[in-house]
Amino acid sequence: MSAMEVWHYILLAISVASMTAGLVFVLAGAIGVIRMPDFYTRMHAAGVTDTLGAELIVLGLMLQSGLTLTTVKLALVGLLLFLTSPTSTHAIANAAHKAKLKPQLKRHRPEHPADRGPEERKS
């Protein structure tokens, strides 16, 4: 195996690792939207998806495409996400605030399903 091929495989490994990490964050965002109690906290969970999740996936794709025009275009996509996602998140949050949606501010700590009695768990 030549040095060039070794370098190619190293790049491939970093790219796959980056995309896998991105997928973990996107999945965590989706799970968070289900688990969080109210609108504002769900928004935070969704924020994980469009910052690190999306950027890591774009980074992985950039490493795959090498030094081509596609890489520059992907970098532009990443920059666009970086600039527009906070603006849209703020627009949604501000709309909720203007509509006088009250955030839930008390401590949220639901009971763990395993701590429930066996009768309750059936229902």
Partner: protein, 172 residues
């Protein structure tokens, strides 16, 4: 003038990147002429709207803003991991907070950069923008550290407007 040339250069680079035309044979001269025409029309409309200033074309502050983004990237990474931990823990235990963060920045660019930075950092979202402060919703009370907000404000202020001089005063 500087901003007009800067905007044209940025648009030209963007057009070259997206079209991928670098040769001057065949039909390409026509396409490049059309590209230059569209750039001129864009700059002309911007001039007509009189929004061609340091705020729309921040090329003078670009190196500082890019350095700030690098720092912000590190902050986002750390915040993402802490939010990930809060979300994925088997027993959810969060205490959301709505706090007012005082804002004392010199320009609209700095205010915009600061508000977007707060929103971009997972766990905190700017809910309302007021004249002298932002209403910020935080996922957990551990994320409402005033020192963290103050450092972010100071860095975005420096990135957008440079070091504060004595002329600016402390509360300008």
């Amino acid at each position: 003038m500087l901003y007009g040339v800067g905007l044209s250069a940025i648009l030209g680079l963007l057009w070259l990147t997206l079209s991928g035309n670098y040769t001057l044979s065949g039909d390409y001269p026509l396409i490049i002429m059309l590209g230059i025409l569209s750039i001129l029309i864009s700059v002309g409309i911007t001039l007509r709207m009189r929004i061609l200033d340091r705020e729309t074309v921040p090329i003078v502050r670009a190196p500082h803003l890019i350095a700030y983004w690098a720092w912000l990237g590190g902050q986002i990474l750390a915040a993402n991991i802490s939010v990930l931990k809060l979300i994925m823990r088997p027993d959810v235990d969060i205490e959301p907070r709505l706090v007012r963060v005082p804002v004392d920045l010199r320009s609209g660019t700095a205010r915009c950069v600061y508000a977007n930075s707060i929103t971009l950092t997972p766990g905190t979202v700017t809910v309302d923008v007021e004249d002298d402060g932002y209403l910020v919703h935080a996922l957990d009370k551990s994320m409402t550290d005033p020192a963290g907000f103050a450092e972010m404000a100071l860095r975005s202020d420096r990135a957008a407007d440079g070091q504060r001089t004595s002329e600016d005063g402390e509360n300008s």
